[in-house]
Symmetry: C2
């Protein structure tokens, strides 16, 4: 029997803001976690369209019992402007997925998508150190994961994205933040990879298809996927068929829980 | 075993806005009622200071899954401006305690404090028709109760308030809205009253004192009190000692539930 969620006049609020929002699991997952920890806090979905986002954010700043915001698509880059200070991943990638109001009323923003992905890999017991990574997708998720993987000790990252400027931007940002780390656009004659990651939207919402040319995909290759479906994306099903170790969006979200909790409620 | 409150990405929100807000019972009472009716809706407290109220209200208007607001002190008059249309009690009194967004995005405001008071009296089985009312307090609560009592068929209302302009304003408003109804400032030689109501802040938060000269207060007099404390206000304890029928703020809030539910979720 899980601890019941209670709401009363003293309840503190954490919003999760995005468009669409009905699909997000966080309000149920985190509200339950807060209840189990005896915190009088709930996470509420906030469905906001583009033409209202700035007014809503200005308004949320004035709700004295709203202590934090989780940010999801399409606002992770836009809401960077709400932060007075930024953590290292947010500063490197230029996006936030969590904002917390300090006792001084200032907002601190950070980005846990990459750290969550890394934690998800580690929770499954898979090694990261020394991996040669090939990642599809150099958008917000790809940038965040590249930053976290570099910190986690992978050997190199090669990026593929039809938007070549995105690839250049991520390489430049990681280069500025972590000088000397080996990150570059994917080349023709790269050494074999042992960690293939899809951080693109291919497979999002159960869509078919693979993100691109996967190479041999032998059973030694670790496969990462940011998307999630009940049956697994096409990439995850292929990884399973080949006997590869794999993680997907569910692992990434599970991996993010401890870090978000520590961000929201520091010990 | 009560139905557990659940929150997920599809949860609809109703806010209750005020300062202070920690003391309000509505988030617990209504969130539980919504759960028992199978509605994916919660009522959340929104603590907002005066210097933020206009920005917050502009922001709340942009949250697509926030369908309604309950308004409590000190914003019942101020948030009249948020309403595109008004129900009769709100229009008469010039205050709102409930705002609901229509499918067209327009906000409809109404005031259920008076109707809740009347329903609370009726729930206890006490007669209203033909009563001669003496009411202390001609602020927002007094005005709302006067409007509802006039509609409920009392014979007359006499008002006492140290702010004489408030008395004049309520009499004028009721006179405009319900022409011919017998409402006036309390006079020296009025006929005896058989319904004495405290709609002032005397007794608020457990404070001591009676709202003013109560007359004979025989056991035939019905006593109404808008405030509530666990032990009863001084007026309620006096009514009990005299053997009077009485209602207090708890009855008023209980009486308001059915009407607010019908406003929020029309059949």
């Amino acid at each position: 029997m899980s601890t019941p969620i209670q709401i009363n006049g003293a309840t503190r609020l954490i919003g999760i803001i995005g468009d669409p929002i009905v699909q997000v699991k966080s309000p149920a997952v985190y509200s339950q976690l807060f209840a189990e920890r005896g915190l009088n806090v709930v996470m509420i979905p906030l469905h906001v369209f583009w033409d209202s986002i700035d007014a809503v954010v200005a308004g949320l700043d004035g709700i004295a019992n709203l202590d934090a915001l989780i940010v999801t698509a399409p606002y992770k880059t836009h809401l960077l402007r709400m932060a007075d200070t930024l953590g290292p991943a947010a500063a490197c990638v230029g996006a936030v997925n969590a904002l917390k109001k300090g006792s001084d009323g200032e907002w601190h923003g950070d980005l846990f998508d990459g750290a969550g992905f890394v934690a998800g890999v580690r929770k499954k017991g898979y090694a990261l150190s020394g991996r040669r990574v090939h990642m599809f997708g150099a958008g917000g998720a790809g940038g965040a994961i590249a930053h976290a993987l570099a910190l986690a000790g992978v050997q190199s990252i090669r990026l593929s994205d039809p938007h070549l400027k995105r690839v250049a931007d991520v390489c430049a940002a990681i280069g500025r933040t972590l000088p000397g780390f080996d990150i570059a656009p994917k080349g023709e004659n790269d050494a074999p990879y042992d960690f293939v990651i899809n951080a693109s939207t291919v497979g999002l919402g159960g869509g078919a298809g693979l993100p691109g040319e996967l190479g041999s995909l032998s059973s030694e290759v670790l496969v990462g996927e940011v998307n999630m479906t009940a049956a697994g994306t096409e990439l995850v099903r292929l990884a399973q068929a080949r006997g590869c170790q794999w993680v997907d969006g569910r692992d990434m979200h599970a991996g993010q829980i401890d870090q978000l909790l520590a961000f929201l409620f520091p010990a």
